[in-house]
């Protein structure tokens, strides 16, 4: 039985830079990410992992090729429509967590919910508290984000990525800035969320242990996926 495809791309091409510094970052990358699966993209720095993530996350547009969310192509969508898709369907986790410094942990998690506008203020607070509790920060809701440790900030970023219950989570080296213990905890947390709540996760990583624990591992080199391996088979 074939699983439902949450996110896919077909023959993506992307050039970066201008004139002499122009680089062919993606050279026809195709990928399908099924619901409930964890995909890792590995490869050396500059191989195109992040470029692929930004295009799949609708933050950047490809020079050629197509991206589809749940089989719906997004190339024809306006900037506002793409923003709406990002808000509703995609959760981003960055290596440097990128929290809003002027806000507390709870308020950071509420920011995507405020944009979606489907919940009342009290409901948003409750959901943010629930999500932060889920990542072990239930006691630090009102702490300003800049007063949290690196591991705690990354966990807030994970909770924030889940704020609007997105179908797809894209993580760009989510554990790259954490120690081994925090890396393992953060990854486990994501893995459980994907498997239990039926999300799709695509992460770019340099960490072989994390890559090994993913359902799929895609190896990239010079803007191409040179190898894709299925690591685990789940029922």
């Amino acid at each position: 039985m074939s699983a439902e495809i949450s996110l896919s791309c077909d023959r993506l091409e992307r050039y970066l830079g201008e004139e002499e510094e122009r680089v062919h970052a993606l050279r026809g990358v195709s990928l399908e990410i099924e619901t409930g699966s964890v995909h890792a993209v590995v490869g050396p720095s500059g191989c195109g992992k992040s470029s692929l993530l930004y295009i799949l996350g609708l933050l950047d547009t490809p020079d050629a090729g197509r991206v589809a969310i749940e089989s719906e192509a997004v190339s024809h969508l306006s900037d506002d429509e793409l923003a709406q898709k990002r808000n509703k369907f995609i959760g981003f986790i960055f290596q440097f967590h990128f929290l809003m410094e002027d806000f507390t942990a709870q308020e950071n998690v509420m920011i995507p919910m405020r944009k979606l506008g489907e919940l009342s203020d009290a409901q948003m607070r409750d959901r943010a508290a629930e999500l932060l509790d889920g990542v072990g920060l239930g006691d630090k809701l009102r702490r300003p984000s800049r007063h949290l440790s690196g591991g705690e900030q990354q966990r807030v970023a994970i909770a924030r990525a889940l704020a609007n219950d997105p179908r797809v989570i894209l993580a760009d080296e989510p554990t790259g800035n954490l120690d081994t213990g925090n890396s393992e905890r953060a990854f486990e947390l994501l893995q459980n969320l994907v498997h239990e709540r039926g999300k799709a996760l695509l992460l770019a990583t340099h960490n072989p242990a994390i890559a090994e624990a993913c359902d799929w591992v895609h190896e990239m080199k010079d803007g191409l996926i040179i190898d894709s391996q299925l690591r685990t088979t789940r029922s």
């Binding site: 709406q84 990002r86 509703k88 440097f96």
Partner: protein, 411 residues
Amino acid sequence: MTPPLYIALRFLTHRKRALLLSLSGVVFGVAIFICTQAQTQGFSRYFIESNIGSNGALVVRSRFRPRYEPLMVAAKNSKTTTNRRLYFEGITNPNEIMRVSRQFPDVISCSPVLRGTVSARAGFENATVDLYGIDPALHARTTDIVHQLIDGSFDDFRNNTSAIIIGSRLAELLQTGVGDTVQLLAPNGEFWRFNVAAIARAGIGSIDSTRIYSHAKIAQALLQQPSGASMIIYKLRDRNRAPVLANRFETLFQHNALSWQEREESTLQLFLTLRMSVAITVSLIILLAGFGIFNVLTMSVLAKIKEIAILRSMGYRRRDISAIFLWQGALIAVAGSVVGCVLGALMTWGVSHIPIRLRGLLYTNYFLVTWDWRHYAFATLLALLAVFIASYVPARRAAELPPVVTIRGSR
């Protein structure tokens, strides 16, 4: 509260020094604008009130007859118009003109005046004076003369035909007071004796230093004038309608009619020029405040470049990002305008209590100010406009920032 407003509030309140800098610019710009306008308009309005209170909003003077001389044609492109009227001194049939005038809804009341220049003598002092022969009852209804009295009684004047009211500075010049005798020199060389019943202060130097009021019949006999009135002065419901009404009266009565705006044109232009000059100077202060806000918001965009990228990655649209910075400007403008209006009112109140002894064009012991809501509205509007322009460019720049470039750069 919309998400951009919520975020704008937080951005603002977390940069207190920048917020204070921006706010103080708007606050002081608005306050100084209000205070200076209140002062300049205060002097101007006092002059207008006093002038209309003494001389009426509209004056009908000499009768004229059109000159039918077809050969008198103005030169081509000439800006000067050929005078096509013959003037005759005095009002012909003043009672009929007043009767018809009162039918106009704009006219509250009117009063005939016989005006002439005579010499006055009191003790050893002499002065040339402007004699106004008036009907006390009508004049009291048409002008503010009763309120202008600083000594004596209007009733004493009304009940005694040989009584006069004398201008305050003229009284000082002649060294005379209520109850004293002043002699006026008739054209036949005869001195007429009058009792000073009251002293009036219009607040305008040129009136207070020259004017004497007497009963019209006595003035007519003294001046040996055949006509009982050389002009009719009017009190209007809306003083701004004076020019329109003057035109109507000229056509209707074939007498020269002059509105207060035309009569005091040169002085009013002086006040207007002064007001404009101050307004331009203070507007520059507000623009400077706007420039300060432009700098603060531009710095804010640079400081929040990472946050902008995060918000975009979370689904905030370009216009949301733009709105965050426009809201910051709007919040500064609104808060700055409100505080600026309060400070402006306090400054105006303070200035109105500064003692100043003016005895020239105007008479006053304190700075004159006007309390006009339009000053506050205009200052607020100016501040809003300046801040909007100042916020627009940084807001646009923030919206145009490609998030992926920032995110890549942060790696």
